[in-house]
């Protein structure tokens, strides 16, 4: 089964090199990624929203994102919203320092004690936001029972891991011709793979399910849903044929 990472959270730090608070965002993000919530978080470099490809710009639409900003300019939160998708939550380090009375942080290269305390506080706060977001996402609406259902949380890895950024490994995308227009759909290769591995044959029911899953990550204008479903079904049938030929 391909790993369609619906349950991971994206962490985007401003990393502002010109100020100590930027260093705090970077170190706090690393702490969450490597030690506090390694199984549930991924990251991407903020500049990739502009310098990268469509897969990189899809990041915040694919992963609910928590931004860590150093100052009130909120570069990470605003740029993420502008170029990728609205963040699910965010913190501003200067606000956190004021709230907790952590003292004057100094040393963009080597943080002073107040700076190191701020790293701990920011990382803890972000880990808490990760947990809250995962709790919300664990409750899903079941169409079959008409109730909210609790999904079993994935086993969490508490072992430290080495943080890996998503540079060069953006969300896979596919281009589809829909009503004479070329539309880029993020995550489609993974969705197709997941459907095929679940044994779903191309059919009208599958087309509807495909559309629902695709809509998690992509906008599909209400009036165009039928055209989307037909195009998805056609593409999925071709995908299945191709996989069959490979086998």
């Amino acid at each position: 089964m391909p790993d369609l990472p619906k349950k991971k959270l994206g962490i985007v730090a401003c990393s502002g090199e010109e100020m100590a608070e930027g260093t705090i965002t970077r170190l706090a993000a690393l702490k969450v990624l490597e030690h506090l919530r390694p199984a549930n978080t991924v990251t991407i470099c903020l500049p990739l929203f502009l310098a990268g490809g469509e897969g990189d710009r899809a990041f915040a639409r694919f992963y609910p994102t928590i931004t860590i900003d150093g100052c009130e300019k909120r570069c990470a939160a605003r740029a993420t919203e502008m170029y990728s998708g609205k963040p699910a939550a965010g913190i501003v380090v200067t606000d956190l320092i004021a709230e907790r009375g952590l003292g004057k942080v100094e040393g963009r290269r080597r943080l002073n004690d107040a700076g190191l305390r701020a790293v701990e506080a920011a990382a803890d706060r972000v880990a808490q936001l990760v947990d809250e977001s995962l709790d919300e996402r664990a409750r899903r609406w079941s169409r079959s029972t008409g109730t909210f259902v609790e999904e079993a949380p994935p086993p969490e890895t508490r072992e430290p891991v080495e943080a890996a950024c998503s540079c060069g490994a953006g969300i896979p995308v596919s281009k589809l011709a829909i009503d004479g227009q070329t539309v880029t759909l993020i995550a489609l290769p993974l969705i197709f793979e997941q459907f095929r591995n679940s044994g779903k044959a191309p059919s009208d029911d599958t087309a509807r399910d495909l559309l629902e899953t695709v809509k998690v990550y992509n906008p599909a204008p209400a009036g165009d849903e039928e055209a989307y479903a037909m195009a998805l079904l056609r593409e999925y049938a071709a995908f299945c044929e191709k996989q069959k030929a490979k086998a």
Binding site: E18, L46, P47, A51, K73, Y83, R108, C167
Partner: protein, 155 residues
Amino acid sequence: MNNETMNNERRKVAIVPCSGIGKTYGTVSREAAYDVTEDLRPEATQLVALSLLVLGDEAARAAVADCPAVTIDGCKLACATKMVRESGGTVAQDFAVLDVYRRHKQFKPQGIAELNEGGQKLAHALAEEVVAVVDNLTPDPSPERRGEKEGGHDA
């Protein structure tokens, strides 16, 4: 970075490092940038944060539009170089940490939050290469006016 500060720094070379947090080379790029802007050529250079360029911050865009920029990229995606160009700036020289490592293979960098000794040395070697470019861009015979510390820098 406010507008007034930026105006005062119009003549300075903009040093733009990678802002990556997931790879050692990103940390090396940042450490080299700090070496240049804090220790080696503080009077001739200014550090410009990539996040401000991504947001389109006016002062940061002006800093790279009005001054030559030296970019230091941590990986092949070259975000720093691309962002300076995207922001209307001129890249006088772009450095890739991997290329510098190939020239200094005795310095093996490790660590992200904290660089090992090899990483520190690689950053210093990179900083010296950046300084050579900065000096060409801002010819000034007086080391004091460039902000150079007595005895230079020990790479």
